[in-house]
């Protein structure tokens, strides 16, 4: 089944950039078995290609039943966060050469969310936490006739957290979230931060109150897994601490 379908002529082999990489993929198909198993695939691939390209080769040439999400393939849509060699990353932003192709590359679904099939997880609890922090602009009074202006410094205040693509790499790397899905998780806090510190928004107090509750920011244990995981380079842990500080300084 793991027969390479790529035809190669002997003479071209020397100049070819292709190497053989083993992809060790965590497979789960409830229509076949209740057990998840590891399956190895040998793939001929250029090390400058990405893990997502490897998964495509498997799906298109070796085993059409391999199931995973991807859309943009360029680090924008946030569909393909997965656990690659034990770390949460986007398959479309992870180059083969950067993760030691000598050894098998393990690919698993992200943790803490229900696995539905192969690498596809149920994102609903994740998006529920996102919705629960009200991630939209809330204002009072009349609609202005032109843009809501903001100084460059005011914009800078929450610049980092505007970059989130809701991939769930951070939340599914958090040990508190693995054990208790009631915790809001880093991604929801990042997206609350984006509005709490926006000078144009007027519901910061309300969002702070939501995150002050028992499953909010106080459950964060500062493990920094989220900052390490974020494919957008957002300083997630720092954003969470800024929300904590806002909660404390608003009372004392």
């Amino acid at each position: 089944m793991a027969t390479p379908t790529l035809e190669k002529t002997g003479s071209a082999a020397q100049a070819s950039p292709y190497i053989t990489v083993t992809f060790r993929v965590r497979r789960f198909n409830p229509e076949v078995s209740a057990e998840a198993t590891w399956q190895d695939f040998q793939v001929e691939i250029d090390p400058k290609e990405r893990v997502l390209d490897g998964l495509h080769k498997i799906k298109w040439d070796l085993d059409g039943s391999l199931t995973f999400r991807r859309s943009c393939a360029h680090g924008i849509c946030g569909s393909d966060a997965m656990r690659i060699n034990g770390k949460n990353r986007l398959a479309c932003k992870t180059l083969i050469k950067d993760i030691n192709p000598e050894k098998p590359i393990t690919v698993e679904p992200i943790k803490g969310l229900t696995v539905l099939k192969d690498l596809v997880v149920d994102m609903e609890p994740f998006f529920q936490a996102y919705r629960d922090v009200m991630p939209f602009l809330i204002t009072k009074g009349n609609e202005p006739t032109r843009e809501r202006l903001q100084s460059a410094e005011d914009r800078e205040r929450f610049d980092d957290t505007t970059k989130c693509i809701l991939c769930a790499a951070c939340t599914s790397s958090c040990p508190v979230f693995w054990n208790d899905g009631q915790y809001f998780g880093p991604a929801a806090i990042v997206n609350a931060h984006r509005f709490i510190f926006d000078s144009r928004d007027e519901a910061g107090e309300q969002r702070l109150e939501i995150l002050n509750d028992k499953d909010g920011v106080w459950r964060c244990r500062t493990t920094f897994n989220c900052t390490d995981a974020c494919p957008r380079g957002i300083e997630v842990t720092k954003a969470i601490q800024e929300v904590k500080r806002a909660l404390i300084t608003r009372r004392f």
Partner: protein
């Protein structure tokens, strides 16, 4: 998906599951839904978090000082006996030191374990009873310790 989706790992025996009868998925622990969690609107967790940091700072002095006096200085652990304890508790300063250390360490440790229970106990019932056990043990130890510090009698026989 194409019809050619033969299972990746085909066991030789007949599978229990098929398209109309899929295997149960493994649910994530304590999943968030539209209805959970319920809002409590108190500052309890914030004060708990602050207390851990503030008591931690004080405990560094109290606990390290305690360990130094008990185990290192003046002949180390072998000097500890009834007379040594009686001698120290004759001074209100050491009484106060030990009382504050008892309360802070117990409340700090109890709140820390509460965090651990919140993290690891999955079912609501388990959480409730583990916390009841924790609170009972904490109250018992704090009260007993306080009683001993205040009623200690060096002339007891």
């Amino acid at each position: 998906m194409s019809a050619e989706t033969t299972p990746a790992v085909s066991d030789n025996d007949i599978s229990l599951y098929d398209v109309d009868n899929p295997a149960p998925v493994i649910e994530a622990p304590r999943k968030r839904t539209k209805k959970t969690p319920k809002a409590t609107r108190t500052n309890f967790e914030m004060y708990g978090w602050l207390f851990m940091r503030l008591s931690g700072i004080v405990l560094v002095v109290l606990v390290l000082g305690h360990l130094l006096i008990q185990l290192v200085l003046d002949g180390g652990v072998s000097k500890i006996g009834f007379a040594f304890v009686a001698g120290r508790w004759a001074s209100p300063f050491w009484q106060a030191w030990d009382l504050i250390m008892l309360w802070l360490a117990m409340l700090h440790g109890a709140n820390g374990l509460r965090t651990v229970i919140n993290d690891y106990a999955e079912r609501d019932n388990t959480r409730f009873w583990l916390k009841m056990l924790l609170y009972t043990a904490t109250v018992f130890t704090v009260l007993l310790g306080t009683l001993v510090i205040f009623t200690f009698d060096p002339n007891i026989r």
